[in-house]
Amino acid sequence: MRRDLTAAAVALRIGAGQAMAGWTVLAGRCLFYVLIMTVLSALWDKVAAEPARGAISLPAGGLVLYVLATEWITLALPAVHMKFEDDIRSGGLEPHLLRPKFYLLQSLAQSLGGTLVRLAVLGVTAVVWLAMTGRQGPPAGAYPYLFVLGVLAVTVGMLLYAVAGLCAFWTRRILPVQLVIQKLMFLLGGLFAPITLYPDWLRKLAEATPFAAHLYWAGVQALAPSGAMFLTAAAWQVLWIVLLSLLCLVLWRAGLAKVLREGGV
């Protein structure tokens, strides 16, 4: 087990190295982050300036910090689903099956390595953007909370995409599954607005999903940081990391049995 974790740690480092080697792609993500924040902040500033028109009350100061956090997480996510689909469909899985270490753990560790680099670089971009636009950021005490929730949030997102990718064992093409998961991330995760704006029954439902664990809890921490909220958020995220990891494991075992029996998909 210790050796498996050591190999996973090396894979994580290699994933981080790959993300840094592809610095042009990383720079492109940062540029897109700035662009999308410029547009969304303009939208939410306008909404916040005219609160009386809406049927729902928005938090003071608008939702710019919330969207800044959710986009930070979204843009840091890896395309692990595409890697799985490609490996499973092309037969690229075979060289990995001939190794003594667990492909799923190695691949996820490698993806997480790249994700953490993107999370750090996009985080710096967010701080710079706040400074350049003269906006007030979250209080200094919120940053450690945000860092922890951000890491847990991308892990939940990565595992959701991993579930989509592993469906390739049965569906070959995962686009339909990927689209469903992606849209649920936007809707039930609250990509552009917190799920507290939803009707009570829908909010309660959304809060309990992995999609909220992926985006909402970290976003709301940027908006109104508190220790109690942090603990609730982290508990939901850890719960979903455990459940999604188990789901990945079940899918992997069933898919692997199929490949070993049928020689491919």
Partner: protein, 325 residues
Amino acid sequence: MSAVITVKSLAKAYRYAKRRGGFFEAFSPEHVTVEAVAGVDFEVGKGERVAIIGPNGAGKSTTLKMLSGILEPSSGEATVLGLTPWKQRKALAYRIGVVFGQRSQLWGELPARESFALLRHIYDQEAAPFAKRLGELTERFALAELLDQPVHRMSLGQRMRCEITASLLHGPNLLFLDEPTIGLDVTAKAAIRDFIREHARDHGQTVLLTSHDTRDIELVCDRVIVVNQGRIVVDQPTDQLRRRFLGRKIITFQSAGQGVSLNLPGVTRRASEAHATILEVDTRLTRVEQVIAAALADGGIEDVTIEDPPMEEVIAEIYASTHAA
């Protein structure tokens, strides 16, 4: 010689749904069973270098997959290094090296050195012996210039040298090579063949190789197993097989004027085109250089190509001869 691989009545049948026209038929597909490997038996001793050859779909890759543990057989038994591959895949992985000519096991964006470093941890290798082995392979394969280059920027030949190095870094007892020279130029092929042969000989390593290139078989392996339609049709030393079946060359002469006409023993003219004369040469009766010298003396030659007969022809010949027997 102790057996490294023992195969008894090993068989694999694939079952797949055949598509039929019509909407309702889509819900009740017809299932078809294809017998990829139909009960093969053979043994491979320690230090032997064995080629499994055969036309596409003959069952050679399926056999290799079952022996490396990534495919379960439908029936039969096999032990590789004392292990049942499909039941003890992980334990076997530490003791075998595998190269798929058409698939990379390296990480494209990273320098080869980093891929090798990850492989050290994947195979739980101690740092010192690993570094020694990497140093030896780097020197033997002239990799020093390549180690810090991202793999995706390498030529196919350079990448294949790195792939083979990667498969040997954990010191495997047995090497599985699936089309290791596919797509390479003549020089790169020669380098790979020399290396595999010498490394296996020096380290007492057992090699099981599949290839469509008869030169891989002739220059690397000392025994050939020919499979066709999932069955072994020939299993004999390479020398004997070459004498029986690989003693022919196809020589194509491009000429501006009329075609080449030679009257030499063992040289027959095949169906040729306007400015290309295709000759089949039985090298037991006339050497290739004699044919070329005679053609050049005839004049008007612009280009010459020398090839082995297509593997399908060799297999067909073997198959025909085994049927006749």
